[in-house]
């Protein structure tokens, strides 16, 4: 064992926590190395000197201050047992609600699906409201709304003719 290798084992050897094999290795080295032997002795003396540093005791009101701070902590109720589960449940519920909402949403372009005749009255009102807006920024929407305005009266009077028309307009 070299002097550099003793570094890791010397402290454990001195505080008697080294394994028997580690102890034997260090002892063999110390027996043949005066420098490390001196260093080991000085370490022992340093530890003795370190014992001179006095210990302090917590001041009189220490416990009371800790208890006071602990008492000021908000107490948890039975509901808090479920905190992680509640978070998870809320996330799952939100996800399900979002999925259902998306699934039940009306098609974004009803005129292109061939269901003009079956469009409900509130939806028709929505389309009318959109049609009456002063500014329409989306060109795509404008073109489809124009198509709807042409089709709507005809569809109301002759529902049977809407089907083939849709087929042609989709192209």
């Amino acid at each position: 064992m070299k002097c550099e290798e003793v570094e890791k084992g010397l402290i454990a050897y001195l505080d008697r926590r080294a394994s028997s094999s580690e102890r034997r290795d260090v002892e063999e080295h110390l027996a043949s190395c005066a420098a490390c032997q001196t260093r080991a002795e000085e370490f022992r003396k340093v530890w003795s000197v370190l014992d001179e540093m006095p210990a302090v005791e917590p001041t009189f009101g220490f416990d009371a201050r800790v208890r006071q701070r602990v008492a000021a902590e908000p107490r948890r109720g039975w509901f808090d047992w479920f905190v992680p589960q509640v978070r998870l449940a809320l996330s799952a519920a939100l996800l399900i609600a979002l999925t259902v909402w998306i699934a039940k949403r009306p098609p974004s372009h009803p005129g292109t699906t061939g269901t003009t005749a079956t469009t409900s009255a509130p939806q028709q009102q929505d389309f009318n409201a959109i049609e009456n807006l002063g500014v329409l920024e989306n060109f795509d929407v404008v073109t489809k709304m124009d198509a709807l305005s042409d089709l709507a009266p005809a569809g109301a009077q002759e529902p049977d003719k809407t089907q083939p028309n849709d087929g042609t307009t989709n192209d």
């Binding site: 454990a12 926590r17 260093r39 000085e42 001179e52 005791e57 917590p58 220490f62 416990d63 902590e73």
Partner: protein, 196 residues
Amino acid sequence: MMLDVKAGDDASFDFLLQKYRSPLVNFLNRMVRDTATAEDLAQEVFLRVYRARKQYTPSAKFTTWLFRIATNLALNSVRDNRYQRMGISLNAPLDGEDSAPMELPSREMRIDEHMVERDRAEIIRRAIASLPEKQRAAVLLHKYEEMDYGEIAGILDCSEGALKSLLFRAYETLRVQLAPLVAQPVAHRAGGRRPS
């Protein structure tokens, strides 16, 4: 015991407070070199233990967990260096003035003996304080808390091999810095008044 605290037993928390308050305050005092700050930090440690009681799992020794919290708080405090700069401590040394904590001499100790002892304690404090933070924590946990290597390594988040090298370097620094004290042991100590 911590599992009892987790179950809501306040008496068990009191027991832990009684058992660990002195080791914690001493460890923190030696880390930050300020008794008032050490007490503040020790209170914070107990408060964090109390707050985290519901999440506590006995995967490691309680003392490892406790001193890990304490070490992190102490290192943050030292790094902030807030308290020293603010100068709020009664123990903080003033410029050019040796202002070690006042310790009343015991009746059987002569005044000159007390002064020598106080000076030596201050030299030791300064030597420990001069160590890099991690080395300082390692020495305090090893020498004063007498923890085993596995536990200290767990607290400092390093391997046992790295810890042993860390301790060797720390004691090597202290060996050099404390050489004058080693060369001049205290007279009444040499007479076996307080065996080391």
